[in-house]
Structure formats: structure tokens, C-alpha cells
Amino acid sequence: MAFIKISSPHVQRPTKTADIMRLVIIATIPGFIAMTFFFGWGTLINTVLAVLVALICEAGCIKLRKRPVLFFLKDNSAVLTAVLLALALPPFAPWWVTVTAVFVAIVLAKQLYGGLGQNPFNPAMVGYALVLISFPVEMTRWTSPFELSADSWNILGFGDTLRIIFIGWSETIATLNYIDSFSGATPLDTLKHRNGLTTEEVWASSNVMANVGAWYAVSLCYFTGGIFLIYRKIFTWHAPITLLITIGLISSMFFAIDPDSYADPLIHLTTGATMLGAFFIVTDPVSSSTSNRGKIVFAAGIGLLVYCVRTWGNYPDAMAFAVMLMNLCAPFIDQYTQPRSYGHKQSKKGSYSKENNS
């Protein structure tokens, strides 16, 4: 029997890329459950649709690149992108919004750059940002969390949601008996477009804010998933915790200065895409900084940008934009956040220079 001739090392850890991706997907399941429970079947339907479209797009691209399709499909990266995108999109997003977003994410933002590991921007966020800007109405049509109307749990039925997604909102609503209180804004949206009311007044008057508990629950689920992933060492604590700390600090600062104009930190941390972004978006390894120190800088930048756009920008939630902007900065951050290697006095800065290297 011939002996294998191969270079060291000869043993490997069993964890593979596909396993990591799968683990991340698994970590989103609590969030899924919460979303479905509070907001209806929309998220689930969107997820299935997105995954299918993603796989088809990816397979098509790999085929065009003349690579073995199954080998590349099996690393679950497209599935993960689709799942995250579906979680980020509003539950009542029409099918064509989902399809567009997924297509852009997979084909434009990932495969056209060279496939897995080569994309400079977070693909899910590219897709999301594109549809957000292109289809603003559909992207702001959120469901209200279930209304306590007569002590019953009222969410839109599965079939109705399907019809809304595939046939259209206006058409479906016309057939329904419910008033359009099924669509509502997010709390952030409410707080932003307050029409001059103070924060307290908004809290008092808005229905959305009355049901902010749903959002708390969803965020908590994402948080749990994220902690689980840190425990499993899929990623380190640096990026998510720094993001949360940054947002918390900034919002606390502004809230302390002027509570009437600014939302409180808890809202910032628990509503919107903060938790989802912290543990699933910002930790995307391909497009973020490499070293731990770099990740801290990266996440801090994102937190800052998110708060700025939320407070003074045009959009209620700015995770996508912030992440994409910091993706642009990641190579530069890498150059200045190299770790200090063993035996060196300090870390090397900047790109190659003759004085640093003999």
C-alpha cells in the first residue's frame, strides 16, 4: 500500500466551513421563532423564498464560472446570506422585493467578486440597502405585533400572508376584513417621525410603542443566539459587544443631555436591527476587519454611524448603511490594527516599508 506523501500537519480539527455556516443558521432559530410568533408567517415564507432563490442564483453563477456546483453549494454560505436577508426584510415584503434583494446579494455582491471569501461588502446588507432605497414603501410596511383585541392573538393567517406576499398588498387587503392596523411602523420609525411630539408623548400615544415588548423579545432571542455562537467560538466577542457598547454609550449620552428629543438607549439597543446586526451582520468575517483590535474599531464605527443616521439621517434604521460604509474602511483599519507579534516591541503599522522589513 502506498503511503500518502503530504506536508505537515497531518491532523485537522473536524469543524468545517459548512459546519460553521450551519451553526450560525441554527443560532438564528430563536429569532425566527420570536418573529413568527409576534409578526406572523411572513418571515418564514420570505426565508424559504430567499433560500430557494439564493441557491438557484449561486448554482447558476458557479456553473458559469465552470466550477463544481455541489461542492461550492454545500458550504451553506448562500443559505446563510438568504436567511439573514429574510430576517432583515419586513415580513410583508412582496416576493419581487425578496427576489431582487437576494439576487443582488448573491450575484452582484458575492459571486461577481469571486465567490466565497472575496466580497468586500456584506452581501446581505448590499441587497437590503438596494431594495430599501429602491422600494421605500414596501420596505417600510411592517406588521404590527399582534393586537390585543379582545384577549386573542391575532396574526394574519398563513394563506393570507402568502397571498399578500405573492399577489400584492392592496389586492389582498381589499379582500380582508381587517383594517390596516396590521401594518405599522417600527418603534424606531415612530420615534423618528414623531411630528414634533416629545418622547413621552410618543410613548403615550402610539400603539406601536405599546407593543414594544414584542421587539424586546425578538432582540433577546437574537442576543441569545449570538452568545451561543460566541460560546462555540464561531466568532469572538470583540465585534458584537463593541457595537452594543458603542450604541449604548452614545444613546445614553444624548439621552442624558436631552431626553425629550432623543430615544433612550434601551430602545436603540433592543429595537430595530441592533441585535441582529450585532451578532449576525457585523460578525460576517469576510467583509470585516481581520485582527481583534481591528474588529473593535470596525464595530465602534458601525455603532457610531448607526446612531447618527438613526437620529439625524433620513432612515429610521441604518444598520445596512453603516455596515457597508465600514466595509469600505476595513482594509485601512487592517493596516493599522496589526497585532504585536511575538518577539516584537510594537505592532507594525501601515503597508510595506523598507525600514520595517530587511
Partner: protein, 1093 residues
């Protein structure tokens, strides 16, 4: 237990050590053939010192260490050397290396070996050499020569000794078992290391997955009194890496690019310590080690004590190899070992394990996927690098960025590759990138060198071209000048053409015949008993004519053949003019003789004389016209030593001929004069003219001789100097090359052979230069020898030159002695060579001394030469004596200073001083001899006597002046209490003596002058004038002295008494001079008033 720190990263692969750690160390079976590689260490391979067929014993050295970075190799068992050649060896490349194959005889007989009885008694470097000779190299995996590591404490401050017992790699249990079974030996080995390195504390770092080994060590240390700690570190890969272990135990980081000794730490593997102990205590060389045989491919995984050179197949068979199960064979551990496929490769000093892995244990790796930059590799890297970036840049070949990310700090542990979820073989990328970078750097260096050489070549070629152009230009200018000059000469060239050549040739032949006939005629006349001078001179004249005709014909022919420059033309003209004049003279003489004797043919002679006069004048004019420079003097005085045209190059041959010519002329003139004297006609017009000419010729002869002699030694001198330079150059080159060869041999450079051959060439060149120099020196000596026969002038110049030579040689010799002593003090290996050079210089010095002495002898023995030379001699010798004295006193002063400073060079200076003293004495002797001669030469005629007295008067004055000066200096020295005072006293006395002798001589001559009043009137006249001058001089001196005396008496100068005496003497002299003058004749009307004083 000491404190444990932490290092960044690390992984926890499954240990898999339990399989092989259950049983103890077994002994591997003896293999039939042991293949021992000569390089099992980092550094130069060992040099084989056995041949095929030799019988060797166990532990006998079969290869010697080469240079500093090397260890010896020994035979692991007794047997016969079966082969020496290439053989597969354990190396990732799978390539072959030089091996010594020993066929074992099964006896396993040890060579005589004893350990060192007291290793503490011997000097440390000897002990380290012993360790090196026993073949001890690092056994942890790298194979660093232990002796080199032990020498680190020479120039580094080492305060911690770390013993690496971590064994962090999975599967390997060799060190574990070694410690469990032989802990006492290990502690003993640590004691030896402690003695060598003298650290302040010793730490044994061991992982906590070896509890039994830890306990064994602690028990062994409990009885020891030394400061050794056993520190158990958490099991993590790679905590056994040197840098990581140091960080674990001491929290100190070894600087990048440095060695642990830079931070005061020396790290040794525990297996090496055991082998070292073996070597020192029992004298057993490193011939065996413990090897773990494990994996699912063997049924009985175990540790074996194996002889170096045992093929792995023997071990695998002993452990029950299952080839069907084995999918991979790994030498080393799973993280850093390399796979092999040939089980015949031997166990070497650094092989600690062989794993026969099944496909279940070590499955074939999955294909690599894209890097998702998850950062897990960065989390585990023990060197705190960014492996994902390194991979990125290695893949895209951006090596500068890879270096920016500290690629070369990677220890290739494999942890990053282990955790990579995409199965990327990261370590392979880094190895590839490192080699590419190293290759690039080498290419750069080569191209830089090539560019330098190319540019130098360009410059060289350009320079050659420029020089050629310049030369061409110069030649063209010269040709143009010559062409212009040629136009001026009225000389008519024969018509060109082959007929003209034939014509001239026939003319030449007839002329030659004429010469022969005339010569015969002259011989016949000379041979006759009664010589008829007129007829002789006539025949001579005819001969001269014929010769000149021949010469003319020759010149015409040669000028037809080649178009010469005008320079030979002038030469020809000169020769022609000279010949014409000579002929004229001869004709004139013949005419005169004929006229006197009344011989027939006078009219014919007259006619010939007329013709010849015309010819002579035209020839002279032509010559003078061609050479309008100052060189065209009248031919009677044209006996110049240096030629006109080529003034720049002093042609010794020309000088020699010129001197010879002058000499012959002089001789002829002298003989003629003598003839006249015998005929008693020296007072005739012709006689007086001839006398004048004779004097002139004498002067000229001397002048030419001087010129020749002056020129000759220079050229020979420059020749020998040239040879000397050549020799020195060759000498330097040879020794430089020898030193470079030694260095290359140490570094094991491949260019060694080439260097050897070129060194042989240099040696030949050196020998040639030496021979040439010796021959040249001999020639110089020979050349100098005949000069001894020449006049004393030549010998004086000789001695000066030889004196210079001697000084130079002495200087060189002393310098060489000083450097030699320094080299001996520094224990420089070049000392012996310097000894040889030193002897040579001494020989040279002695030769120079010899030569000088010879000439000095001849100089001193040439005192019997006539009067005029005697004076020059004494002058010269006086100068020599003064110089020698001065040198001697200077040297003496320097010697005393050196003795005061206790300079070690004092003895040599003593010798030199003695020599100078001897020289001084001999010079003094010579001078006195000549002085005696001079003083005893009073029997010569009057005119020389007069010159003598004036000369002697000058001598007396000089001597007096010197004496008084010396006396004044002596008093000053005595006042200052200068230790040189005694010597000065002696010198002063000598000067006084000299003064008195000179005075005496003067008085003698004065007496003779006085008693030579019988000289005729004419000389008397001259005398009176002279005497008048003497009076005036004496008066002036007397008055000057008087004035000085009065001044001194006014100043109360202690020298006043002496001056008084001097003044009285001068007064006496004045009176004598006056008396003389008065006696010699009527007193001229001079200032008579002064006579009264």
C-alpha cells in the same frame, strides 16, 4: 513549583499518548546494516575518516567535526564499513545524503572508553570540545550542535537554564519514558550543564499530562543540592516550542531574529542532557536514542532504545507493523513531522518518533476551500501573527506585504492549519513564501554584483580606448614634427627603386673590402720592427677613410629601406661630422709628421687635408643646422655623456660608452704627452697645448665616469626595488588567499577546491618573485663589486646607498619583530608564518650590513690614493663620522628614554645602539687614517702644501668652533643636571683633541711653508699676497675676539677665561702672520697703524 505564565494561542489536539506510554523502553533489535548519515545536525557535515573495509568498534569515531558548527559522528555498533555513499535519509525532501554504511558483526563490541574523572578540573573549552567530539547535538528535532550552544555563555550573560521536557506533540512519548526510567542521569547531566553555563537557576518545563515523569524528576531533585525547579505547564500545543516554553516559564519574549541567549536563557532538550551526561561520565558517544513507534499501523506501540542508523523498517517490524492498515508513515509528530514512503531510511540523532497512521486516524485531507477569514487561525497562532493575511499575501505573491506581517516569525507549528475550517494547508503556503523570498533576495544580490562588474568592465574598456586615442594623437604629433624637421635637412636620399637598393648594396660591399685592405696594411706596418710613425699615421688615415666610406654606404642603404624620423638623421649627421673631423685630424697629423720627417707624398697629403677640412666643416655645419639646440657644441668638446635628443631617458649604455671614450681619449692624450716628454719637447707650443688638452680630457673623463656611476646604481636600484615590490605583492596576495581558504573551509563553502588551485598558483608566483629578487639582489651585489675598483667617489656613493638600504632593512625587521611578538601574545595562528618572514628579513638585514661593511672597508682602505683624492676622502669621512656620531647619540638618548619608560623594545634598541657605536668608531678610524695620511703627506711638492695649509687652517677653525660650542653645551647641561652630561664631557674632550691635532697639522705646514722660502720668485709673489691676506684675516679675528671678550667680561660670562686664552692665541697668530709677511718681501703700503696692536 514555579509560576507559570501563558503564551498566546495554542490548540488542544487529541493527545494519543496513551498507546505508547503503557510499557517501558524496549531495546530495538540490531540491524544488519547501519546507515549513518554524516550530517545529523545543523551546520557543516562531518568529514569521514574511515574507508571501505575498515573494521570499526562501537562508539569509534567515523567522521570528524568540520569547523566550528559541526559535531563528530560515531559508529553505533562494531562491524565493517561496507559502503560510503549516497543513501536515502530522513528529510522532508526525500533526497539522499552522504552516509557511512556499517555491516554489523553482531558482537556489539565497545571501543575503549572512559568518562572524564573530574570534569570540573579541566578548562571549560576543553570540556566543550570533548562534548563536541562525542557527537552531542540537539535531540529535540532541530539538531543544533550542543557545543556551540554551550559556548554562548562566553559572550552572553546567561542566568537561566531551561530544560525542555514538554514534549507537546501528540503521539510522542520518548522523553516521557526517558525521564521516568533515567531521571538520576538527567539530573547529573544538568549538573554538568550548570558547571559549564553557571546559570542562577534551572527550570525543567514539563507538561502536566506526564504525572509519572514529574514525580520521577522531583524525587531525583530532592536529593540534589542544586537550584533546579520542575515546573508543570498546562498541556497545550505548542508549549514545547523553545520560544513558547520560555514565555511560559519566564514571561520573557525572545526578540524576533534573536536567540534565547540574548535574553539570558539557554534551552536544552532533556534527551540531549541525558546524552551529554552519558558522554561525560562514561565516555560513550551519542550512538543511540529512544524512538517512539506508534499509530494504528503497529500492533504494539512502544518506545525503543535504537542505535543511530537503524532502518525504520526494523523498528516497525519489532513493533508489529501492519502495512495494510497504514496509510501514512510520519517521522516526528503529527503536527510538524514529515511523511516518508521508504522505510529503509535510518534513525538519526533527531528522529524521536515514527507514526504508522491509519486512514481513520489521519484521514486524507479534504480539498481546500476558500478562506472565509474567520480568524480562527489568528486566535491559535502562538507567534501572534495574522495567518489569514499571510495566506492572502503568500497566495497572491505579495511578499513585501507578507514580510510586513512578520512572515519569518512563523515557527511552522501547524496550529493555524489545524484549526482552519476551509482545510487550507496554511503552513505550506508560508514555507513556499519564505523560500520564494529567500530566492528573490539571492537573485537581487547576484544581479547587483553582476551590475557592478559590468560597470567596472565598461569603465575599463572606455579607459583603454581613451588611452589608445591619446597615444595615437601623440604619435601623430610627433610624426608631424619629424616630418617638418626632415624637410629642412639637405641630405639627399637616394632615388627610390630596386635599382637604387642594388646600387647601394654593391657600394657597401666594395667599401667593406676597402676597409679590410686598409686594416691589413695597418697591421702589417705595426707588426714591423721599426715603426715609421708617419707611415703608420698615413695607414691609419687610410683606414679611417675606408671605414667612413663603409659607414656612409651602410647608412644610405638603411635610409633607403626605412623612412626614419629626423632623430636618426641627426645622429647620422653627428657621426658623419665626427668621423670627418677625426679624419681631418689624422690627416693633419700625418701631414705634420711627413713634413718633419721629410717624407714623400706631402702634396698629396696636403690635398687630402684640404679635402678633409672641407668635408669636416660641411658635416659639422650640417649637424649643427640639424640640431640648433644647445647640444650642438664644437666637436672638440662634444664628448658629452648624455645624448642630445633623448634627454628624458638616461641610457646607461650611452653613458658607459661615453665614459669609455673619454677614458681612451685621455689615455691617448697622455701617451702622446709622454711621447713629447721623452722627446723633451713638452715645453713647446704643442706640448703646452697638449698639456691643457690633457687636463681638460682628464676632467671630462672624470665627469663622464661620475655621470655613469651616478646613473648606473639608480637603474639597478630601481630594478631591485621593482623586484622587491613584486615580491612583496606576491607575498601579500598569497597570505590573504590562504586566510580566505581557511575561512571558506570553516564555512564549508563549495568554492574551496577552486580556492586551493588558485592558492597553488599564487605560491608559484611568490616563489618566482623570490627567485627574481634574489637574482636581482645578487646582480646588484655583483654590480656593486666592480665599482669598488673604481675611484673612491664611487665607493662613497655606494656606501650611502647601502647605508640607506641597511636602515630600511633594519626598520622593516624591527617592525616585523614587534608584530610577531604581538601575534604570539594574541595567540594568532599566523604566528608561525610570521616567524618565517621574520627570518627572511633578518637575512636581508645581515646582507645589507655586509655590503655596507665591505664598501666601508674599501673606502677606508683606499686611503693610499693620491693627494687630491685624500682630501676629498677625509672630507667625506669627516662627514660620515659626524653623521655616525649624531645617529649614535640620538639612539643612545632614545634608549635611555625607553629604559626609563620600561619599554620592552629596550633590548633591541641596545643592540642597535651598539651597532651605531661600532659604525661611529669605524668612521672615526677611517677619518683618522686619512688624517694621518694627510699629515704624513708633507713630502709632496710645494703647490699641494699651500693648499694643505689653507685647508688645515679651515679645519682648525672649524674644530675650534665645534669645541667651544660643545663646551658651552656641556656647561649648560651640567647646570641643568642633564644625565647626558658625562657623554658630552667625553665628546668635548674628543673635540679638544681634534682641535689640537688640527692645530698641530697647521703648525707643521706653517713650518714647512716657512722653510720653503727657497721657492722661486713667482710662487713667492703669490705667497706674499697670500700672507697679506693671512695677516688681515688674523687681525680681523683678533679684534673680533677681543670685542667678544670685553662683552663677556662685562656680562660676567663664565666663559670669559677661555675667551681670554683664545684672544691671546689669536694675538700670537697675528704676530706670526705679520712676521711672515714682513719676511717675505717689501711691505706693501697697507694700514700699518694696525700692525702696532
Amino acid at each position: 513549583m514555579g509560576k507559570v505564565f501563558a503564551f498566546h494561542g495554542g490548540i488542544h489536539p487529541p493527545e494519543n499518548k496513551h498507546q505508547s506510554s503503557q510499557s517501558g523502553i524496549a531495546t530495538a533489535p540490531l540491524a544488519k546494516v547501519l546507515n549513518v548519515p554524516v550530517q545529523q545536525h545543523i551546520g557543516a557535515p562531518a568529514k569521514i575518516c574511515v574507508t571501505i573495509g575498515d573494521k570499526v568498534l562501537k562508539g569509534q569515531r567515523i567522521a570528524d567535526a568540520q569547523g566550528k558548527f559541526s559535531v563528530a559522528v560515531h559508529a553505533p555498533s562494531s562491524g565493517t564499513i561496507a559502503a560510503i555513499g549516497e543513501h536515502p535519509v530522513p528529510h522532508p525532501s526525500g533526497m539522499n545524503a552522504q552516509c557511512v554504511s556499517i555491516e554489523t558483526d553482531g558482537l556489539d563490541q565497545w571501543v575503549e572508553h572512559t568518562g572524564l574523572a573530574d570534569f570540573r578540573a579541566m578548562p571549560k573549552f576543553e570540556l566543550i570540545d570533548y562534548i563536541r567530539d562525542r557527537g552531542i547535538a540537539g535531540m529535540g528535532g532541530a539538531g543544533f550542535p550542543t557545543a556551540v550552544k554551550l559556548h554562548l555563555s562566553d559572550d552572553h550573560i546567561v542566568n537561566t537554564l531551561i530544560i525542555n521536557a514538554a514534549e507537546c506533540e501528540p503521539y510522542i512519548t520518548a522523553d516521557d519514558l526517558l525521564i521516568r526510567e533515567r531521571a538520576a542521569d538527567i539530573i547529573s547531566g544538568i549538573n554538568i550543564l550548570q558547571h559549564l553555563i553557571e546559570p542562577s537557576h534551572v527550570i525543567i518545563g514539563i507538561e502536566d499530562n506526564k504525572p509519572q515523569a514529574i514525580r520521577a524528576l522531583e524525587e531525583a531533585i530532592a536529593n540534589s543540592k542544586y537550584n533546579i525547579h520542575v515546573v508543570s505547564v498546562p498541556t497545550k500545543y505548542p508549549s514545547g516550542g523553545e520560544k513558547q516554553l520560555i514565555k511560559l516559564l519566564t514571561n520573557v519574549e525572545v526578540p524576533s531574529g534573536g536567540i534565547p541567549a540574548d535574553v539570558g536563557i539557554v534551552c536544552q532538550n532533556i534527551g540531549t542532557v541525558y546524552a551529554l551526561n552519558n558522554a561525560v561520565r562514561t565516555g560513550e558517544s551519542l550512538i543511540s536514542r529512544i524512538v517512539t513507534v506508534t499509530g494504528e499501523g503497529v500492533s504494539k506501540p512502544q518506545n525503543y532504545e535504537t542505535l543511530i542508523g537503524t532502518p525504520f523498517s526494523v523498528l516497525l517490524d519489532a513493533a508489529g507493523h501492519r502495512p495494510n492498515t497504514t496509510s501514512r508513515l510520519i517521522v516526528g509528530g503529527p503536527m510538524m513531522g514529515y511523511s516518508i514512503d521508504d522505510t529503509n531510511i535510518p534513525v538519526v540523532k533527531t528522529s524521536n518518533c515514527i507514526i504508522a497512521a491509519s486512514s481513520r486516524e489521519m484521514p486524507a485531507p479534504d480539498p481546500a476551500q476558500a478562506c472565509i477569514r474567520c480568524g480562527m487561525c489568528e486566535q491559535v497562532c502562538p507567534a501572534q501573527l495574522l495567518p489569514q493575511q499571510l495566506h492572502w499575501y503568500a497566495k497572491s505573491q505579495e511578499y513585501d506585504k507578507a514580510q510586513q506581517h512578520n512572515l519569518f516569525d512563523c515557527i511552522e507549528c501547524g496550529a493555524c492549519s489545524y484549526v482552519c475550517p476551509s482545510n487550507i494547508p496554511l503552513v505550506q503556503y508560508y514555507r513556499h513564501a519564505k523560500t520564494s523570498i529567500r530566492e528573490e533576495q539571492q537573485e537581487k544580490r547576484k544581479s547587483a554584483l553582476a551590475r557592478e562588474r559590468f560597470e567596472a568592465k565598461q569603465m575599463r574598456e572606455q579607459r583603454a580606448i581613451d588611452e589608445k586615442a591619446e597615444k595615437r594623437k601623440a604619435r601623430a604629433d610627433q610624426a608631424a614634427k619629424a616630418q617638418a624637421a626632415k624637410q629642412q635637412t639637405p641630405k639627399t636620399m637616394a632615388s627610390n627603386g630596386p635599382d637604387a637598393a642594388k646600387h647601394l648594396k654593391s657600394a657597401l660591399l666594395s667599401a667593406k673590402k676597402e676597409v679590410m685592405l686598409a686594416q691589413r696594411q695597418l697591421d702589417r706596418l705595426t707588426a714591423e720592427s721599426d715603426k715609421d710613425p708617419a707611415a703608420l699615421s698615413l695607414a691609419d688615415l687610410k683606414l679611417q677613410q675606408a671605414k667612413s666610406a663603409q659607414h656612409k654606404a651602410q647608412q644610405d642603404l638603411s635610409s633607403l629601406d626605412s623612412a626614419q624620423a629626423s632623430a636618426p638623421d641627426t645622429k647620422k649627421l653627428k657621426i658623419a661630422a665626427a668621423q670627418a673631423t677625426t679624419m681631418l685630424k689624422k690627416a693633419q697629423q700625418a701631414l705634420k709628421a711627413a713634413q718633419e720627417k721629410g717624407q714623400p707624398g706631402i702634396e698629396q697629403l696636403n690635398a687630402t687635408v684640404q679635402q678633409l677640412t672641407e668635408e669636416a666643416t660641411t658635416a659639422t655645419q650640417a649637424f649643427e643646422a640639424a640640431e640648433p639646440s644647445a647640444q650642438a657644441k664644437s666637436l672638440t668638446a662634444s664628448v658629452k655623456a648624455t645624448p642630445a635628443v633623448q634627454e628624458s631617458s638616461i641610457d646607461t649604455k650611452k653613458l658607459k660608452t661615453a665614459a669609455a671614450i673619454a677614458r681612451t681619449k685621455l689615455k691617448k692624450a697622455q701617451s702622446q704627452y709622454e711621447q713629447l716628454v721623452t722627446q723633451n719637447s713638452q715645453d713647446s707650443e704643442a706640448g703646452i697645448e697638449l698639456k691643457a688638452q690633457l687636463d681638460k680630457l682628464e676632467q671630462r673623463a672624470q665627469a663622464t665616469e661620475t655621470a655613469f656611476v651616478n646613473a648606473k646604481p639608480a637603474t639597478t636600484q630601481s630594478d631591485t626595488e621593482q623586484l622587491q615590490q613584486n615580491y612583496d605583492k606576491a607575498h601579500k596576495l598569497y597570505y590573504k588567499a590562504l586566510a580566505a581558504l581557511n575561512k571558506a573551509e570553516q564555512d564549508n563553502s563549495p568554492a574551496v577546491e577552486k580556492m586551493r588551485s588558485s592558492i597553488d598558483k599564487l605560491k608559484d608566483k611568490l616563489n618566482n618573485a623570490e627567485n627574481a629578487l634574489a637574482a636581482g639582489g645578487k646582480i646588484l651585489a655583483d654590480n656593486h663589486a666592480p665599482l669598488k675598483i673604481n675611484t673612491t667617489l664611487a665607493s662613497n656613493i655606494d656606501s650611502n646607498q647601502l647605508q640607506l638600504d641597511l636602515d630600511k632593512a633594519a626598520q622593516r625587521y624591527h617592525k616585523a619583530v614587534a608584530t610577531f611578538e604581538k601575534a604570539q601574545a594574541d595567540q594568532n595562528p599566523a604566528a608561525q608564518r610570521m616567524q618565517a618572514g621574520l627570518d627572511k628579513l633578518k637575512a636581508k638585514l645581515d646582507d645589507a650590513q655586509q655590503a655596507l661593511d665591505n664598501t666601508a672597508d674599501t673606502a677606508s682602505s683606499s686611503a693610499v690614493t693620491p693627494a687630491t683624492p685624500a682630501n676629498i676622502d677625509s672630507e667625506q669621512l669627516q662627514q660620515d663620522a659626524d653623521k655616525a656620531r649624531a645617529r649614535y647619540h640620538k639612539a643612545l638618548a632614545a634608549l635611555e628614554k625607553a629604559q626609563a619608560d620600561q619599554n620592552p623594545a629596550a633590548q633591541r634598541m641596545q643592540a642597535g645602539v651598539d651597532k651605531l657605536k661600532a659604525k661611529f668608531d669605524s668612521a672615526q678610524q677611517a677619518l683618522e687614517n686619512t688624517a694621518d695620511n694627510a699629515s704624513s703627506s708633507t713630502a709632496i711638492p710645494a703647490t699641494p702644501a699651500k693648499i694643505d695649509s689653507a685647508q688645515l687652517q679651515q679645519d682648525v677653525d672649524k674644530a675650534r668652533a665645534r669645541y667651544h660650542k660643545a663646551l658651552a653645551a656641556l656647561e649648560k647641561a651640567q647646570a641643568d643636571q642633564n644625565p647626558a652630561a658625562q657623554r658630552m664631557q667625553a665628546g668635548v674632550d674628543k673635540l679638544k683633541a681634534k682641535l689640537e691635532t688640527a692645530q698641530q697639522a697647521l703648525d707643521n705646514t706653517a713650518d714647512t711653508a716657512n722653510s720653503s722660502a727657497v721657492t722661486p720668485a713667482a710662487p713667492a709673489k703669490i705667497d706674499s699676497e697670500q700672507l697679506q691676506q693671512d695677516v688681515d684675516k688674523a687681525r680681523a679675528r683678533y679684534h673680533k675676539a677681543l670685542a667678544a671678550l670685553e662683552k663677556a667680561q662685562a656680562d660676567q660670562n663664565p666663559a670669559a677665561q677661555r675667551m681670554q686664552a683664545g684672544v691671546d692665541k689669536l694675538k700670537a697668530k697675528l704676530e706670526t702672520a705679520t712676521t711672515l709677511r714682513n719676511a717675505s718681501g717689501p711691505q706693501p703700503i697697507t694700514t700699518s697703524t694696525e700692525d702696532q696692536e
